[in-house]
Structure formats: structure tokens, C-alpha cells
């Protein structure tokens, strides 16, 4: 008997129209846990580097976390993995909501799509009955609209729907997959779904999910709930509002946006507006929120309230999550009312809330600098808000200049040329980033930005405070109940960290400490992504209810696999390294591993080199960033060694450095 997981995947070949229910190997679960881990293994095995995002051979995998569907609070994420059309590397974007648990109750751990359907279709997974159905009547429909139509058509109000909008159908490189209050947005995963000709996946399940040690599992869940209650009554002092409490974050509930609006950049990630958050702005935005927000909502089995039902007067209702609240507002230099209104249109179209506004702000900057002209942007309105709606339409329909912009700022700049590349300044590995421009290099963030395979800072940061606390007594207070640390040394790192002087950034935390910190931060995200745990109750936060000490127990008592801190860390390292190898095999290079050039004003090339050298070594990678033979062997990834050797990617470690032996006197 399999616990927590169902032990079955659905394999769907869209070209042939075949559907198979495949038994999975429990050994893979032990080695790669589930969710992202087993997704990565499947992609490694079946998608060679020659396969492009839009090849029929590309796979689109909807993987549930191994603990999704068990009573673990907030464990509801679907990890969608494929090849990104934009970065050409592995994309893995997670969505919360209700879809993953529903798939588990239907009896499956993953849905694996391959091939391409000649006609637009949707999938209807109703327990044991799985059908590929015609979706021609849904062509061009919005993602929210599609979900509603399908629930009505199937007469299944309880079904969960993951759907693409027009952006996905038209293969916009930052198209999302929308699912009610959540979405899988980063990396253009929606474009791959559109390319495969799949409009939506509808799921309904009414079967049991088992756990192996019921009473102990129940106790663990209760401890998490107790901690959530504790944190709500005792916010963490000294940190920004969204990090003082839990959530992913609870952007819809928190009104105070002083930190985001004054520290993040406006427009095309250019302008910092110190002093923006006045009382008038605060009042106006609060009024907007109160008028449009009908309810604070959550994902499956989670007491948080990170999302909201938004009804802009005169527009359809939609559900908004997280930081899309501000991205359109800030890119268009507008206000919250505009942001919430355009997000409704963008959600129906199904686009990433980070990349889409940036592509539009980028286009307007090109226009202001005469690189794009009225000829490229015929009949464009004169106001900023109007222009954003105009550009969103053009992009989603791939109309005129929108066709280039739909590929993201990196590729658009190449196509537009005429110096446009200078304006595509906020990318990492061809992917748009949060609009942050700061002064002094932060060595921890340098490593996270450079090496993070998710290419999204919120998907690697967490656990360790973002900045030092000025007063020692506050730091002492902070470490007092910091039981989540994997090792006591992290407390000392933080206690000694000063805003100024010898022990301040960029040279403190030291290179060695930075490696420890970043590795811990990344590891927690990778564990979450295998378990299906929301980062908002776990990896993203300081002192969260889920941590390295209780997560292994959740696996032991839930999935019935012997697990401890070392074993879970080792498994996470295994699939993290596999993803690394996968991306190196697809052409990722050390030179690509860098933050946007203007991310910090004060840079330290030598220190940065040392950081990267040391971190690569720490991770078991060679100086080019390729996992070494030794580390692959240690992780049991000998099949990767063989493959990398065939491709001449593996450097042979020599006992004696070549230089010394070359002296030929």
C-alpha cells in the first residue's frame, strides 16, 4: 500500500489521443521524494537537450507534492515542469489553490502530457474516467471564464480547473496557467500548454488519501496549526509587514505598502519613489481595496488569507493573489485602482504578473526614446493607463509589435534592435525579475540571484533575515526562539551581523557563511516543492511552522518512508543537482549566472567571483558550474555522469594541478 501518494501517474499522448494509467516506482519516491523531485527525474530521462519548448517531444508535467491531499495544513501545491520557451531551461512554477489535492483524490500523483493535439482540447479527469474532449468552443475564452463554462458544461460545480487564456493559446512566452485563485506563471508554462493544444485540465476526485501513522501525523498537523495561531498573535518584530506574519505573503490582507512602493522601482524598473506612501495615498488605496475586495480567501486546507475575490465596479469578478496587486500599478506609474482593474483583464488572458507589466513598461520606454515609434504603435492612447491596456491586447494577440513583446524583454530587444537591448535591463537568464535596484552588493542575495534555478527571488529567499537588525539586543531577541535553524551557527552569523562597520555587507557574512545560508535557504524551497508545501507557511518565512526538524517527520508519518534531517537534505540535494545537470546539458553557462548589471550600484567583482567559486564548490559543482563526477556519484546519479561524459561536459578532476607539472626544465 502506498501512503500519501497514490502511486499512479496519468500519461497522456496528445498526438495519438492515448491515455494510460501508469504505476510509479516507489524507489523513485524515496530518491526524489515527489513533486519537483520526481518531475525532474522524468524530464531528465525523457527530454534530451535537443528538444525545444514547442517540440511535441517536450513534456508538460503537472506534479502534485507528495503530501498534497493529506491533512497537512497549506500543503496544496501543483508543481508544473517543462522546458521554458523563454529561458530554454527547465521551468518549474508552482501553483497553490485546489487542483493538486483534487488530483490526488481522483487517484493520480501526476499528469504527464506529451505530443500535440491537432485541435484545441480539454482533459476531463473524473476519478477513473479520463477523457480528451473537444474545446473548440472555448477558443479565445478567458481563463476564469473557461473554468466556469466547463463546470457548467460538465455539471460538476466541485471540479477544479487549470486553464489557459488567450495568451497561452497564442504562446506568449510568459503565459500562465490559471486556477481560480492561483496560477503557475513563471517561465511561460502556459505557452507550452497552449502549444500542446490543451485549453484546460478539469479534475474531480472522491477517493481516499492514506497516511501511514495516523495519530502521529494528526499531532504534527495540530502543532503546525498551534504555531500559526501563535504567530498571528505574535508577529516578528523588526521586519517588514509581510514577513512579520505568515502567508505567501498575505498581500491582499495587508494594507501597508510603504515598503514595496518606496523600495521597489516604478516604470521599467527605473524610478525609486522615496516618500511616496503618504497618508493621502494610504487612504486612497485603502478605499480602493475596500470597494473592490469582496473577501479574503485561501488555498486548500490553509488558514491564511493570501488571496482575495476582487470585483472592480463594471468588470467581472476574479481572484487575485500575491504581488500582482502592485506590479501593474508600479510599472504603469499609476494607482491601485488601475492595478486591480487591469489585473482582471490580465488574469483572463493568463499572463505572468511579473513579466507582463515589465514588457509593457519596457515598450513605453522604447517609445519615449524613439526606438519604437508611432508606426510600431499605431493609435496608441496618450495616457499611461490606456497604453497599458493597448499593449496588453497587442501582446496577447501577438499583434504587430506585440509579437516581439510577447517573447519577453530579452528576446524582444534582440528583435527590435536599434539599441533596445539596453532597456531590457532587468533580466536574469532571459527572464524578467522583480524591479529592485539597490546600492550596496548583498553577498547572500548575489548568490541567490545568480544561481537560483527558479529565477525568482521569492522562490529561493527565506529563513534568514534580509537585513541585519541595528541593535544587538533586538538580534538577541530574534535568535531566542529561533529553533528552525538547522545548526546553531546560523544564530551566531545573525548576532554578529551589523548594518555598518567591519561585520557588515558586502564582506560579512563571510563567503563561507553565505554559502551555508544560501544553501539552507534553497534547500527549504526544494523540500517544499517536493512535498507540495506552500512557501508561505514554510521556506519563504522567518521562523515558519514548517522547518527542517518537522518536515522529515511529516514524510515518515505521512508517506511511511523512513526519513530524517540528513536523508531529506540529501534527497533535496540529489534532485537539485539533477536540475543543475539538466540545465547545464541545455547550455546554461557560468557567465549566465549573474544578477542584472544595475541591480546594485556598488559591485565587487573579486568578491563576487570568490562567492561564486566557493558556492559552486560547496554545491559539488566544478568551476564552470557543472556537477562533478564525485558529487554525482555520491548522490547516486551515475546515469548523469555517463550522459555528461558523452557530451564532454564533465571535467576530470586531476590529483595534481596541471600548472605545477607543466614546468619542464
Amino acid at each position: 500500500m502506498r501512503y500519501a501518494e497514490t502511486g499512479f501517474n496519468l500519461e497522456i499522448d496528445l498526438t495519438r489521443g492515448s491515455i494510460e494509467r501508469v504505476v510509479t516506482d516507489p524507489i523513485d519516491t524515496e530518491l526524489y521524494l515527489g513533486g519537483l523531485g520526481t518531475n525532474a527525474k522524468i524530464l531528465w530521462d525523457r527530454v534530451p537537450p535537443e528538444v525545444e519548448a514547442f517540440s511535441p517531444e517536450n513534456l508538460l508535467i503537472f506534479g502534485t507534492g507528495i503530501l498534497c491531499g493529506t491533512p497537512a495544513p497549506g500543503c496544496n501545491r501543483t508543481i508544473v515542469s517543462t522546458i521554458s520557451p523563454q529561458t530554454k531551461l527547465m521551468a518549474f512554477s508552482m501553483m497553490g489553490g485546489f487542483w493538486a489535492p483534487e488530483l490526488k483524490y481522483a487517484g493520480y500523483d501526476k499528469v504527464i502530457l506529451r505530443g500535440k493535439s491537432p485541435e484545441l482540447v480539454y482533459l476531463w479527469i473524473n476519478n477513473d474516467k479520463v477523457e480528451i474532449r473537444d474545446a473548440s468552443h472555448l477558443k479565445g475564452k478567458g481563463s476564469v471564464e473557461t473554468a466556469e463554462l466547463l463546470r457548467q458544461e460538465l455539471n460538476e460545480p466541485k471540479a477544479q480547473v487549470a486553464a489557459i487564456g488567450l495568451a497561452g493559446e497564442n504562446r506568449v512566452f510568459y503565459a500562465s496557467i490559471e486556477q481560480g485563485r492561483s496560477s503557475s506563471s513563471r517561465g511561460g508554462i502556459g505557452a507550452v500548454m497552449g502549444d500542446k493544444g490543451v485549453k484546460a485540465i478539469v479534475v474531480r476526485g472522491t477517493q481516499d488519501i492514506n497516511v501511514s501513522n495516523p495519530v502521529k501525523y494528526f499531532d504534527l498537523c495540530n502543532e503546525v496549526l498551534e504555531f500559526i495561531k501563535f504567530r498571528e498573535k505574535n508577529p516578528i518584530p523588526g521586519v517588514i509587514p509581510i514577513l512579520a506574519v505568515l502567508g505567501s505573503p498575505q498581500e491582499m490582507a495587508i494594507h501597508d505598502e510603504k515598503w514595496h512602493t518606496e523600495n521597489f522601482m516604478w516604470g521599467n524598473a527605473r524610478l525609486r519613489r522615496k516618500g511616496f506612501w503618504t497618508e493621502d495615498v494610504s487612504d486612497e488605496w485603502k478605499k480602493t481595496m475596500d470597494t473592490m475586495r469582496t473577501r479574503l480567501i485561501s488555498c486548500y486546507n490553509c488558514p491564511m488569507k493570501c488571496g482575495a475575490t476582487i470585483t472592480p465596479p463594471g468588470q467581472p469578478t476574479y481572484m487575485m493573489k500575491c504581488f500582482s496587486k502592485l506590479t501593474y500599478t508600479m510599472a504603469a506609474m499609476s494607482n491601485l485602482e488601475f492595478g486591480l482593474r487591469i489585473a482582471q483583464v490580465a488574469t483572463e488572458y493568463g499572463v505572468d504578473g511579473y513579466s507582463a507589466p515589465q514588457a509593457m513598461a519596457f515598450a513605453l520606454e522604447l517609445y519615449e526614446n524613439n526606438i519604437l515609434t508611432d508606426k510600431d504603435l499605431p493609435d496608441m492612447p496618450s495616457d499611461n493607463e490606456g497604453r497599458f491596456y493597448y499593449l496588453l491586447d497587442k501582446i496577447v494577440k501577438r499583434d504587430g509589435i506585440g509579437d516581439a513583446l510577447a517573447n519577453g524583454t530579452y528576446w524582444a530587444a534582440k528583435e527590435i534592435d536599434k539599441g533596445a537591448e539596453e532597456y531590457a535591463h532587468n533580466n536574469i537568464k532571459k527572464h524578467e525579475q522583480l524591479p529592485l535596484k539597490l546600492s550596496m552588493l548583498n553577498p547572500i542575495y548575489f548568490l541567490m540571484y545568480s544561481t537560483g534555478a527558479k529565477m525568482n527571488i521569492t522562490q529561493i529567499e527565506g529563513q534568514f533575515p534580509q537585513a541585519p537588525f541595528p541593535e544587538l539586543k533586538d538580534r538577541e531577541e530574534f535568535v531566542k526562539d529561533w529553533f528552525q535553524v538547522p545548526d546553531e551557527k546560523f544564530k551566531q552569523y545573525f548576532l554578529d551581523w551589523e548594518p555598518r562597520g567591519e561585520k557588515s555587507i558586502p564582506y560579512y557574512p563571510t563567503v563561507e557563511m553565505c554559502c551555508d545560508i544560501v544553501d539552507w535557504q534553497e534547500k527549504m524551497h526544494y523540500i517544499d516543492d517536493a512535498l507540495g508545501m506552500c512557501a508561505g507557511l514554510s521556506s519563504f518565512h522567518h521562523k515558519p511552522p514548517y522547518h527542517i526538524h518537522n518536515l522529515p517527520k511529516f514524510i515518515s508519518y505521512g508517506a511511511g518512508m523512513e526519513m530524517d534531517e540528513d536523508k531529506i537534505s540529501f534527497a533535496a540535494k540529489r534532485y537539485r543537482t539533477l536540475i543543475r545537470a539538466f540545465n547545464m546539458r541545455r547550455g546554461l553557462k557560468r557567465k549566465d549566472e549573474k544578477p542584472p548589471a544595475d541591480h546594485w550600484k556598488k559591485r565587487f567583482p573579486e568578491l563576487e567571483k570568490e562567492l561564486l567559486d566557493s558556492y559552486y564548490k560547496y554545491k559539488g559543482w566544478d568551476n564552470e558550474g557543472v556537477p562533478t563526477k564525485e558529487s554525482l556519484h555520491e548522490l547516486g546519479l551515475d546515469y548523469v555522469i555517463e550522459d555528461l561524459q558523452q557530451r564532454n561536459l564533465l571535467s576530470e578532476i586531476e590529483e595534481t594541478p596541471a600548472k605545477e607539472t607543466s614546468a619542464n626544465i
Binding site: 491531499g69 493529506t70 491533512p71 495544513p73 485546489f98 483524490y105 476564469v144 466556469e148 460545480p157 481560480g180 485563485r181 476526485g205 472522491t206 477517493q207 481516499d208 488519501i209 492514506n210 497516511v211 495516523p214 495519530v215 501525523y217 494528526f218 496549526l225 500559526i228 495561531k229 498571528e232 469582496t294 473577501r295 479574503l296 480567501i297 485561501s298 488555498c299 486548500y300 486546507n301 490553509c302 488558514p303 491564511m304 488569507k305 475575490t309 470585483t311 467581472p316 469578478t317 476574479y318 481572484m319
Partner: protein, 181 residues
Amino acid sequence: MKSEKKTIKSIRIDVDKCNGCRACEVICSAFHAAPKYSSNNPARSRIRVIHDALADIYVPVYAGEYAVAECAGRDKYTIDGKEYDECAFCRASCPSRDLFKEPDSGLPLKCDMCASDPTLEKPLCVQWCLNEALIFEEREEEVEEEESQSELEIGLESLAHKYGLNEMKEIIAKMSASKKG
């Protein structure tokens, strides 16, 4: 008839506080699994959140009596501009909907306030609802004392209901006479 004090257990539901997470469904079905907490499945839950996200309707309803037949309740209620089906407030396990029935057997489900030994402080759906949309209430009510009926009494009463008391008397008289003889 004498009256006595009885403890009534109920759940007060504040639909405005529901965030739609369905933790109540998860933990209810886990509690009622055999062995306890060994599995969960919202389709088996004795509490369900009747919801329509875009219409902002979230009504947690916990299972009540089994109803053999459908009722005539097809009315609509508009409250604060939102239109609710009458069914949205009904606790019955009835033929007109798939709520509160075991998914495999179709047998009706009914909330037992998590009856267990030792008694829980509150039903688990209430404990797991951190947003306090579900509040457990206990109150004392004066109720008419009912003498508990024996099995024989229940049986006889149903026979009397069917054949009439007089006919039963005659039969019993005949039976006693034949025994004597």
C-alpha cells in the same frame, strides 16, 4: 409531562468569516476514517463548504437528518445582494444532491459532533477553523422528559400504528386465551 435540562450542541456559522479553505472537510473525514485519521476524503465529510467563489458564496453546512424524499425547496434567497439556493442552508442528506453521502455506498452521513471517548473539547471542524467561521456552542435547554422506550415498545408501537390498537388488543386476548387452554 415532566421537563428536564438537556445540553444542546450546535455550531454557529459565520459565513462572512469563511475563507473557503475547506480544512473542516479535511479533518472531518480524517476523524471519521477507520482507523481514526488514517485517511481523508472531503467527499466523505459530514461538513461541506457550499461555495461559488465568483458569486462570493461560502456556506459551511454540517450534515443533519437523512431525508427519504426530496422536499419542495427550490426557492432562492437574496441576502446582501447575493442569491442563495435554499439548499445552501439545508443540512439534510437527501436524494436531490450528492452531499452527505458515502461516495461508494451512497449511505447517508450525519454529523455526530465528533463523538468520542474521551469527549473532545470541540468538534474538530471547529478546532481547525482558525478563522472562526465555525463556533461551537453548548447550551442548556428545557425539554420535555421522554421516557426511553424499550425495543419491544418501539416494535409494538409501530404495529399499533399499522393495525390499530383495538385489533392488537383482540389478537393479544386471543393469544392469551389459547395459551391458557
